[in-house]
Symmetry: C2
Subunit: 391 residues, 2 copies
Amino acid sequence: MAAIIPQSLESEINIRVSKIAESLKKQNVDAILLGSFANVYYASGRVFSGYAYITCDGSVTYFVKRPVALEGENVKYIRKPEQMPEIIGKMPTTIALELGTVSYNSIERLKNVFNGATVVDGSVIMSQIRAVKTEYEISKLKTSGIHHETAYGNIKKVYREGMTDVEFQIEIERILRNEGCLGLFRVAGDSMEIYMGSVICGYNADIPSPYDFAMGGGGLDDSIPGGCNGSLIRPGNTVMVDMCGNFTGYMTDMTRVFRVGSIETPLALKAHQLSIDIHHRIAEIAKPGVEAKMLYETAMQMVKDAGLEDYFMGHKQKAGFIGHGVGIEINELPVVAPRSKDVLAEGNVIALEPKFVIPGVGAVGIENTYVVRQNGLECITNYPEEISELY
Amino acid sequence: MAAIIPQSLESEINIRVSKIAESLKKQNVDAILLGSFANVYYASGRVFSGYAYITCDGSVTYFVKRPVALEGENVKYIRKPEQMPEIIGKMPTTIALELGTVSYNSIERLKNVFNGATVVDGSVIMSQIRAVKTEYEISKLKTSGIHHETAYGNIKKVYREGMTDVEFQIEIERILRNEGCLGLFRVAGDSMEIYMGSVICGYNADIPSPYDFAMGGGGLDDSIPGGCNGSLIRPGNTVMVDMCGNFTGYMTDMTRVFRVGSIETPLALKAHQLSIDIHHRIAEIAKPGVEAKMLYETAMQMVKDAGLEDYFMGHKQKAGFIGHGVGIEINELPVVAPRSKDVLAEGNVIALEPKFVIPGVGAVGIENTYVVRQNGLECITNYPEEISELY
């Protein structure tokens, strides 16, 4: 038997539950039912199969299907969701369900379980709550950042002349895994799927992908058309490394660029420096209360001033954002995009990735993960920002 | 520009579209709209962001959001689903949508797009169609199987004395990736997530997990509680290797057991041999027209006759199935479980995994992937079935 919430996490989970209860109260919602792995993990500190049921009064019931042998006053084992009402007793008049993440059939089934209740979207509620990290969550992210940095420090050691992008990526995956990377790259929604991140080299940076990532890549197979495509790593091309930083259940996002020999194209060097400059500029102005779209506009103005719009956030195909929240999932709020309605709050954790695709060279630019603090951004992925030579 | 369907795949996609159209006609459904990556891949041979719209007359329109630059007579670029009706023209009276896989919000949006149409569940339709593979799909699965076998042949080479399960798994991941494994382990539904498979050693086999896999394992972190947990690989314990066979977009599933030194527990040896015997018995009786639950019952009877029920499909926590279809996703139809309503058909591809957890030793038993043929099962993951020694 194991306690559903380890003693060391009790006060942290209380904080999170209070945040959820407060948000429900504000929106006149009686209760929320969370069944997605990401939200169950947030509400309990562990992934289980079942539901966390939280009321606006702050009471929690964990309805567990699997695994067996979890303990706690508020743990109730069920085989199916239809068993919940009897245990809940006084049923809610308004219930929040995860309409944005859970399948239509599963929601219809839950609507029947909460028969007669008004249903509101709990996915939105949870995204907004999870966008503002607790100090404990920030410490988890910082730990991920430190391992991420350490792993990136070993990337140059595994390069061998004549490698393809995928061969290089496989060695980087091994470095990350040996450093403690859990592998899984949790993404929200249906528009993305990924295996451990991407290593994109040379012309492949300009091959469009179906996924909503900042950069594309053709991939190794039409079944997973993104990332490395088996290209030889050639002198004069860049190798962009954007690999998974999930060491703690909380993910940092970090991109760095490598090269073999020298990059002779002034356009590429200029664009890479501009990416760094954008980071530094945004790190100063991104404070609580600032609109996320302002960060996008600031970056875009700097890009326009430099005459680099054609290459910004892709060339043949462009991504529509330059940053996103990170945490339990890699695509959280706030979104740093032109039409974002998000306003920065202290405790947001965002990955910024102003990147460029330079034809004939490849992708340039960096990505870092930052905590939004009172006086600007605190970087938690510190690693040299210039293009590093592989040899 | 690239053709949405490469010339070499045209006749194959025609076959698949005909199967879908025929099924729609049989069920009096006018059209189906597919947007999940797995079904889009099935309907076009490539993953894109958007929808495949197929009518009961066999006409297909590919509505593409990303990537740019796909070509074809029936390719229409859209930014949002609301643009489809104008292109479709005569709207369907009955439409199948992926109710079992796509989020509630996305389906509600699509219901508005097909305003007034009766909506039926397209997820079920597609699962049933995809359960019967074409010969081309079987060739893809066979190719995966051959690479899977080759990779498993290298597992013993990377074992070093004193390794933990995760260190061993990382080296196996690298073998698989270097053999061409695409990494991504596509699973259907909300009840599973996994990173490249699992290596489970000794007592960890008996730690229950929340996921719907045959075996559990505590995992390395409460955020992903399944698989290896950092245990030292000890003499007298088994190491069960159940790693991802996705080399072609189509996945084979194969499990083998390794040991350090000798396994002295007769119970473990008996159970492993029984697993092999179950495979051979089922391979003879599993023919088109046989109910999938009969295979389960046959296995269970053999287990009962041997007095090994306590250990079958887990010990503290048990899995409710011994086999499942595989293909584009790792959990397809048919399901080999006591209450399965599936009936075997020629061209089903199933992974059978009658496994045991023996306290004090670990997990034993094997898993193979088979094609259902007229006269029984054809194994496509051929690798020695006995427990192999690591040294």
